[in-house]
Symmetry: C2
Subunit: 379 residues, 2 copies
């Protein structure tokens, strides 16, 4: 890996049905380009992560900014679309095809019928009443039965998430909550309560990736953040709906190997947690703790910004910042870059030197996932 | 460029609404893997081009083959989706991330409402009655007025297309037609008649890309086909609906430069011609002839398989083989590779040494296109 992140940008994650996809996407792109200290005309290629727009999302955003005539590719990998967009833009730089590539993600969930996140079309589980909250509830039930985890421990994921998000102006939910409040919120699919499910919002995020040589020549406004490693995997079929660790483990192993780093090197990590149980499972998949230890990891405060373990989801994550599908994977990178630059304000992890992002998409009962993307960054 | 094409595969392009996307896609993937002489397990990453399935097309196909646990990315770039899928898979190999990558495209147009190719959602032209046939008819009207091209010359694109397709078992239209028959077919949007518009069909195609070092170690069943250059561009806004050359020229210039080759080096080319006029405009955009000379280029037989110019669309192209959006750009590569291997049977261009593919997508009146991908291959 020889690429660096030159700039990042994101929009607030909100319900903003009155705005267009082009306008919201453009806000993030403009912010990232400004942060990188470059001109729009210096962007040589762009990859856009989007799920629900129905075609040409990237070109629609860039055209509104007058950014035409450059290579643009749209990527769809369910909830991991933003992570895959980053990964494809990175490939263009690593292949030596361009010096400056833009990865961005944008999603207007309030523009979709019901604002719902749909699982795969041929998914029989959806038809028989097992949409994503039900699927993750099953995972939670299995986990609680296998490891003695408690509802209170699950709820502590949300308590941490809200505590972090109160420092994030761009997060959707910013009011701190207690374990009791999380458990008293309306039941969705037992044991998951409303506060344990991520909100559907609109938003965008963008990242400017550059070759090391361009960054050296160009200079950067802040400290250059290095891309150290990146792994991608789809999942294998699974026998039981109790795990989302398979693709996570494989993607993480690739990223760790490429970076020459291990779990103990990670200071801060943005993890894919559309539901509370997901974050707990991913601690284990990413190697932050052993199997069955995830619930205690979060409940004991180890994943707090000031915790003894990895600071997980300092942004508030999907649960508090919100989850506009294609944007989420890119927003994670924006957060980790802010952390590594020391610019994260009230939610800053002290002395953060190595950061990780983890996003996955397309979990269905028959298969671990469609795609998981794990990336590692460092100062 | 150091990548080679190790194997190609395609399905017949047909209306086959009774089959699933997974089954049709799998046919092409299995054929390409067999042609490459490798095992399924040797594929290290996959990129799928698809427009209308609605999410997870690539994973759906590969899961049906038991090909799980590998990185899979879905790419959408309108009619150019297959070309972009090839380009992204190529990036993974060129970045040194994998030795063997699979690019494939699949589309089931008979599964869509009406089987129609829709233009971009926010496209006002669609709402006021200017869908793609009308847009290309305008281009044809402009071209005829500017250069004195005749309806008979436009029709000759179809005559050549059908003449070539009679040798292609996988083409949808295989019956030769005369200029008179083309002009007598039902009017669609003046001057375009029915036979001058591509059929909406279902189909898939796949390409196995490998690093040179893998190919050397592994050996190939046929002569290794080299990827010499590849360019991608989106279009700039245009003042008049009379050109589709802008993005084509830019993508071609990149590909030519990377390959160290020029238009006179191209023996055979698969060109994006959803309508007869498109092929004529692209001769000019790709540099096969000068501005305004395209109509005479085809009418005089220069683009025939045995012509004095570049043999264009020996497969029958979109007009006769058919145009299952995401599959088309990959099917073009399969055709060119067959030509360069000397395995194209009755439609073989004699001594074909250098081949080109050109695909574009998302033409709307305000903009040249969303994406154009041009790639060059050689023995």
């Amino acid at each position: 890996m020889s690429a660096v992140v030159l700039g990042v940008g994101a929009t607030p994650f909100r319900k903003q049905p009155e705005r267009t996809l082009a306008a919201v996407g453009a806000d993030a792109v403009v912010a990232a380009i400004k942060d990188a200290g470059i001109e729009k005309s210096q962007v040589q290629a762009a990859v856009c992560g989007n799920v629900q727009f129905g075609g040409g999302a990237g070109q629609t955003v860039l055209r509104s900014l007058g950014m035409t005539g450059l290579p643009v590719t749209n990527v769809e990998n369910a909830c991991a679309s933003g992570g895959s967009a980053f990964r494809e833009a990175l490939a263009w730089v690593e292949a030596g095809w361009v010096d400056v590539a833009l990865a961005f993600g944008v999603e207007m969930l309030t523009h979709s019928a019901g604002g719902l996140i749909e699982t795969g079309r041929p998914d029989i589980a959806n038809q028989v009443g097992l949409p994503l909250p039900g699927l993750y509830a099953l995972k939670a039930q299995h986990y609680m039965a296998d490891y003695g985890a408690t509802p209170e421990q699950l709820a502590s994921v949300v308590v941490k998430s809200r505590a972090n998000a109160q420092w994030n102006d761009y997060a959707f939910f910013r009011t701190p909550v207690t374990v009791e409040q999380v458990l008293a919120s309306p039941p969705i699919s037992d044991p998951l309560t409303l506060f344990q499910c991520c909100p559907n919002v609109d938003g965008a995020a963008a990242v400017v990736i550059a070759s090391e040589s361009f960054a050296r020549k160009h200079g950067t406004s802040g400290p250059a953040i290095k891309v150290r490693g990146s792994g991608v995997s789809s999942g294998h079929p699974i026998d039981r709906a109790d795990s989302v660790a398979d693709a996570t483990e494989r993607a993480a192993a690739q990223a760790y190997e490429q970076a020459g780093l291990g779990p103990s090197d990670i200071d801060v990590c943005e993890v894919h947690e559309p539901f509370s149980i997901a974050e707990i499972l991913h601690y284990e998949g990413l190697g932050f703790c052993g199997e069955g230890e995830g619930a205690n990891y979060v409940a004991s405060g180890r994943a707090d910004i000031t915790g003894r373990g990895v600071a997980v989801n300092p942004s508030g994550g999907l649960l508090s910042r919100g989850h506009p599908l294609g944007a989420s994977g890119v927003a994670q990178i924006a957060e980790v870059v802010s952390q590594l630059r020391g610019e994260a304000g009230g939610r800053q992890r002290e002395n953060a030197r190595v950061g990780m992002t983890h996003i996955m998409g397309g979990s269905i009962p028959e298969l671990d996932s469609n795609a998981c993307v794990v990336s590692i960054f460092s100062t």
